[in-house]
Symmetry: none
């Protein structure tokens, strides 16, 4: 690597929040004791960041595509292809990829648990029992387990279309039947064919899964069986030039969530995974920080992703969000010291806000901070949604924030001569 | 309405201004006593808003299209179609609509008053005398009176084009003759045909109007006769999906000005009109506020439009602008109390700045504020151009401001999953 400047980008998923009465009107981030984040803000520059634009509410996938420097309007077509990249499936032209959940159906055909009790064990075996299924119209099935209850289905065949609806009824509709998978557009024989193939897969998967030894054991142990596969987010792969190639840098990503891993792989980043790096509150926060530090030895840009903030927010767990932020803050302390000593940059950011009271993503901008050599500092003393309103970066987009970081490490190109 | 969150958007047309020596270097808004607007700013979040982008100066029509969530670059082609919607004309494909003014021509053919003394009475009769005229090339005329001296001309026929110039010489050229209407592009037979049709209409309208009993009575009473129709803003209708449909909300608009009524109708809003709701300084400020409160009972988004600020600015009436702002502020006091009690949002905004000394729109951004449940507040204490420079929303566009309001009432869609 000819360029010696480096940057660490820390993503706290769903970090942004709104005032919470139980916290004295503060947000979880404002309330949390975060001496390291505060020092990064104080000795660096801060601002507010919109994933795409003010008022535009995004999902984790779109938010991360923007953080990784892409225009989601151009490269995004469904979550499925990202999840497929996350589990290492190389999508071919014509493949349609779905995000899948192992779920629990009761005898009446009702979804009683969309996540089969957040099943963690035996999903590889269950997936193997579905993989390579051949459907009646000749379509091939590729099926892989992902994190916990998550999985990926790829339909591979001729004349398939991503324009089909989800069978997943969504978190607000547990206790209902899976939705019928239908063509999203009338008169598209490819979409109708794909809906029929996905439906046939769902039925046959249910028959295979409900008799599977893994599920028999789960029932014996009083656990909800993973006897159904809910599908959503059908999509196709769109052409993307890797960030590494666009900016001639080596990137590394430390993440537990398959979505982030998928995006990192699609964008040409090396992925550092460990079984203890989960996409949950129980992740090895300190281990990820240590892995990030190590990755800085041979990468220009290292992204470390923490999911716990978003998990706590979706479940409305204010105290856990506060505690998780404080734990990440502690884990970042040695990295901050190393950054001061070794002269690398640290950027703190997020993919979107997830207010605990809303339990859903919102369009609120997220606070960001950038610390490192020669950064033009502002007078913001603490890291938080409202403090960063006065930040020197102003209000910028995720693409702009990444470019700013890349510019500090000398990776941008000059437009003009 | 499944969604119970509501928002009231208050538009003070042409609110933004520049420092005025007579006000001790303050702007009219900074100078005015506005306890309610200040509380909205103090207990909410503020910012600066550009209708389209910094430095881009817009008209009332374009500013409002942006405030209603549209990209004027895509949906706007001339003021005529908006005015046509405002008076309830359903434009057909191929129709060319003009904004029209009743004006006073003297015997020498010079425009002595572009607004025929701001005529208010008898315009319906005058319009009826011109409506349904059939021009020599077969083109049909649709003519309707609008607010005061304003009217709408629609040319309906074959191969017409909006690419024609205005006959209105504009406010700086009173005392000159009407301009000849010409094709804006050389070699367009449709534009030449349209220019000829509009010219024939103008001549025949003059002959009809100057002998009309309404004008005979005006002359007897020493009032300038409305004996000519000045044309400007030729345009055609472009496809627009209604805001109601795009965001699955019910919207209502309280306005006196036909432009705003036209845009509200084009965007699928219910329009609440009363004869006392004018587009002038004499409007029923309190009645509009009361109508807005009532509309919140069965609409998610209620827009109330106050034109007086812009009217005073165009006439350079600083004191009247200050007094009008203070009157609107008083009318908003009970709405602010209701918002605190009932939990709806209040947004304060404008379509553009109109500095009194300039007597014209400027590209200065306008101050905005948003108050309501869970809004992340900033430390701005008063509502005004310079106070809002430090606002927590930063500097955003009108589209972004509307989306932010829509996100707080839960009406936005998530892009990505």
């Amino acid at each position: 690597m000819s360029n010696t400047r480096r940057a660490l980008v820390v993503i706290l998923d769903g970090l942004g929040d709104r005032p919470i009465a139980a916290l004295g009107g503060k947000t979880p981030l404002e309330f949390a004791r975060t001496p390291t984040l505060d020092r990064i803000a104080r000795e660096g520059v801060t601002g507010l960041m919109d994933p795409l634009a003010p008022g535009v509410r995004v999902g984790t996938d779109v938010g991360h595509l923007a953080l990784f420097g892409y225009n989601p309007m151009r490269v995004y077509w469904g979550r499925g292809p990202i999840e497929a990249a996350g589990v290492g499936i190389a999508l071919r032209a014509g493949d349609v990829a779905f995000r899948a959940n192992f779920a629990t159906l009761n005898d009446a055909g009702v979804v009683v648990d969309r996540r089969a009790g957040r099943i963690r064990e035996g999903t590889e075996e269950l997936a193997a029992a579905l993989d390579k299924m051949r459907l009646s119209d000749g379509t091939e099935v590729v099926f892989r387990a992902a994190t916990e209850h998550r999985a990926v289905l790829v339909l591979r065949g001729e004349r398939l279309s991503p324009l089909v609806t989800d069978s997943d009824p969504g978190p607000l509709h547990e206790g209902e039947r899976p939705r019928p998978i239908r063509a999203r557009v009338a008169g598209s024989s490819a979409a109708e064919r794909t809906a029929a193939a996905a439906t046939e897969f769902s039925i046959r998967a249910h028959h295979i899964l409900k008799e599977h030894p893994v599920n028999r054991r789960r029932i014996e142990r009083g656990l909800p069986p993973a006897n159904y596969v809910l599908l959503r987010g059908a999509g196709i792969k769109r052409p993307m030039r890797s960030l590494a190639e666009r900016f001639n840098i080596q990137g590394a990503c430390i993440a537990g969530e398959s979505t982030i891993v998928g995006i990192a792989r699609m964008t040409g980043f090396d992925v550092v995974k460990k079984p203890t790096f989960t996409a949950n509150l129980d992740t090895d926060v300190e281990g990820k920080a240590a892995a990030a530090k190590e990755a800085l030895n041979n990468h220009h840009l290292v992204v470390v992703h923490y999911k716990g903030t978003d998990i706590a927010s979706h479940d409305g767990l204010v105290d856990q969000k506060v505690a998780y932020i404080e734990r990440v803050d502690r884990a970042l302390a040695p990295l901050f010291e190393a950054a001061k000593k070794d002269g690398f940059y640290i950027a703190i950011t997020s993919d979107h806000s997830t207010p605990c009271q809303l339990r859903e993503h919102s369009a609120d901008p997220v606070p960001v901070a950038l610390f490192g050599p020669d950064v033009l500092t502002d007078d913001v003393e603490c890291f938080g949604e409202r403090w960063c309103m006065r930040g020197g970066l102003g209000r910028i987009t995720a693409n702009a924030f990444l470019l700013t970081v890349l510019d500090y490490i000398g990776a941008t190109y000059r437009f003009g001569s």
